[in-house]
């Protein structure tokens, strides 16, 4: 195996993996078979390119061999036996034709269709983002499993079950119909945001740190925007991620202590992501299709404006949360609205809002107990505040946040 061949295969994987999987999967209607055929073709490429040199168009070489693999596995199935000779010829002809008709990269881009398949309503919501991460970005199951706090075996089984479902239920590799599009788009973006927040107590309300799959999630949403530039909510989601990323350096002191948002040093907030976020949000709002991600981005935008004005406009934040709750009354939004109201309307109003949330929705939801403790403390109810803080401490996964809560509330240890 030559270094040149190895580098050429690595380049194909780096630049074209998702595009090749999407193209092959659409053709076969079978994601798992497409991934297998592509892996086999990449192995074949290593050997062949080592002896006969790297072809002029490596992508096309790989996709042609993968298509032969796909037709080969199709040929093995009983039902397809009669069609085989013509299928082989057709496969090669079609690759040839399509390569010629899409000059830019050689291979038609079906990644958006693949994203919509991964987030299809027939696929369990919890596995949609892992499917995207694997099929479109080529992440392995073990890496995804750690980010989702599950075992690699379990994640592998869930992924292959979902892929069987795509094949057996014949989920079409097509762009959704216009009347379905808003709901389907929401599914895609929700899955991407879930990947961004995987492994956190609260991706929605507070201030996620960068870790796990945030970078990969951002690549996915950028891909959606590239392929669907008029998708306002995708731009809203990117703006939201960028505004949160901007604060990533300010969330911890040099010695690792947690710094809550309102105590962060704005000089540590990164200007470049904030500027891009504002730009994306502006373009989103110009499209005139407001949605929950644009509202959440707008909320973070108001927070980050403290870098310019020196103060936080809590009334605007509370009003934006009212809008968000109208559009999408998630537990995260309800709790975050109450937290904003502590500042804008006072602790009593905030506690009323918290009491309206059904208890079973929040019994293990850390931000609820943090917000409750904060509101109770502000209302002068120290004993109740400590009890709520103890509950929050017990639900916290991040040791720095836990230490911060212990110090803030002087929680009794008995």
């Amino acid at each position: 195996m030559t270094a040149e061949a190895r580098q050429a295969v690595a380049d194909v994987v780096e630049t074209s993996y998702g595009r090749l999987v999407a193209y092959l999967a659409q053709d076969a209607g079978d994601l798992a078979a497409a991934e297998d055929a592509l892996s086999d073709a990449l192995v074949a490429a290593l050997e062949s390119w080592s002896t006969s040199g790297v072809p002029e168009r490596p992508d096309s070489w790989v996709v042609t061999v993968a298509r032969r693999n796909l037709v080969g596995s199709y040929r093995k199935s009983e039902t397809a036996r009669r069609a085989q000779p013509s299928l082989l010829v057709l496969a090669d002809e079609r690759v040839e034709q399509e390569m010629n008709s899409s000059p830019a990269s050689g291979i038609p881009d079906r990644r958006l269709e693949l994203l919509y398949v991964c987030a299809h309503p027939a696929i369990d919501a919890g596995i949609r983002a892992p499917l995207m991460l694997q099929a479109v970005l080529g992440l392995d199951a073990a890496r995804i499993a750690s980010a989702y706090v599950t075992s690699p075996t379990t994640m592998g089984q869930r992924l292959s079950r979902a892929k069987s479902k795509i094949r057996d239920a014949r989920i079409p590799f097509e762009f959704p119909l216009a009347e379905e599009l808003p709901r389907r788009t929401r599914n895609v973006l929700d899955a991407i945001y879930a990947a961004y927040g995987a492994g956190w107590d609260d991706p929605n309300g507070s201030d996620p740190k960068r870790s796990g799959l945030t970078g990969e999630a951002q690549r996915l949403v950028r891909l959606v925007i590239e392929l669907e530039p008029r998708n306002a909510e995708a731009r809203g989601l990117l703006a939201l991620m960028l505004h949160l990323d901007a604060r990533s350096q300010a969330r911890r002191t040099a010695d690792g202590r947690f710094v809550p948002l309102d105590e962060q040093d704005v000089d540590l907030w990164l200007r470049a992501p904030m500027i891009e976020a504002e730009h994306q949000l502006g373009r989103a709002q110009a499209l005139g299709d407001i949605g929950p991600y644009q509202l959440q981005a707008a909320i973070q935008s108001v927070h980050n404006r403290r870098a310019l004005t020196g103060s936080t406009d809590w009334a605007s934040i509370a009003a934006l949360y009212d809008g968000l709750v109208d559009l999408s009354p998630t537990v995260g939004a309800l709790v975050a609205r109450a937290a904003a109201n502590v500042e804008s309307a006072g602790a009593t109003r905030a506690l009323d809002l918290l009491d309206e949330i059904p208890e079973r929705a929040v019994s293990a939801y850390q931000p609820y107990w943090v917000t409750r403790a904060h509101a109770l403390k502000r209302a002068g109810r120290q004993t109740d505040a400590k009890a709520a803080a103890a509950r929050a401490i017990g639900l916290t996964t991040d040791p720095a946040v836990r230490a911060h809560l212990v110090a803030t509330y002087d929680v009794p240890s008995g």
Binding site: V149, A364, G394, T396, S413
Partner: protein
Amino acid sequence: MTTTTSQQGRETQHVQYMILAVETEEDFAKRDDPDASGEYWAAWSGYLAALAESGVMTSAGGLMPPSTSTTLRRRGDELVVEDGPYADSKEQLGGYFVIDVPDLDTALMWARRCPSADSASVEVRPLLPPPSA
């Protein structure tokens, strides 16, 4: 195993898992260190409160440090009694929590919150189901 009915009316089989909290020597030392014991115990009592008040916990127990342990083994006719835990390891069991949840992922969610995950480790293992009648 117990059975609950979820909102959709689907029945979910619950499984009992034991969360085994393993701690380091430094963790055990914090219990009596005036500078560290406040935060140490606040973390554990918060964890216990969260488990109990969320209604998932069926039992729990904390252990005295490994220095208080005694281990015995019978080898043939000889009974050997030794000071200390069964394995000489830097990390030792410090306590356990038995929870009743629908699946491993929910159990892992609770395990992540366990304070000893930061310093040592947390093991999650299903309990054997009770023998059928």
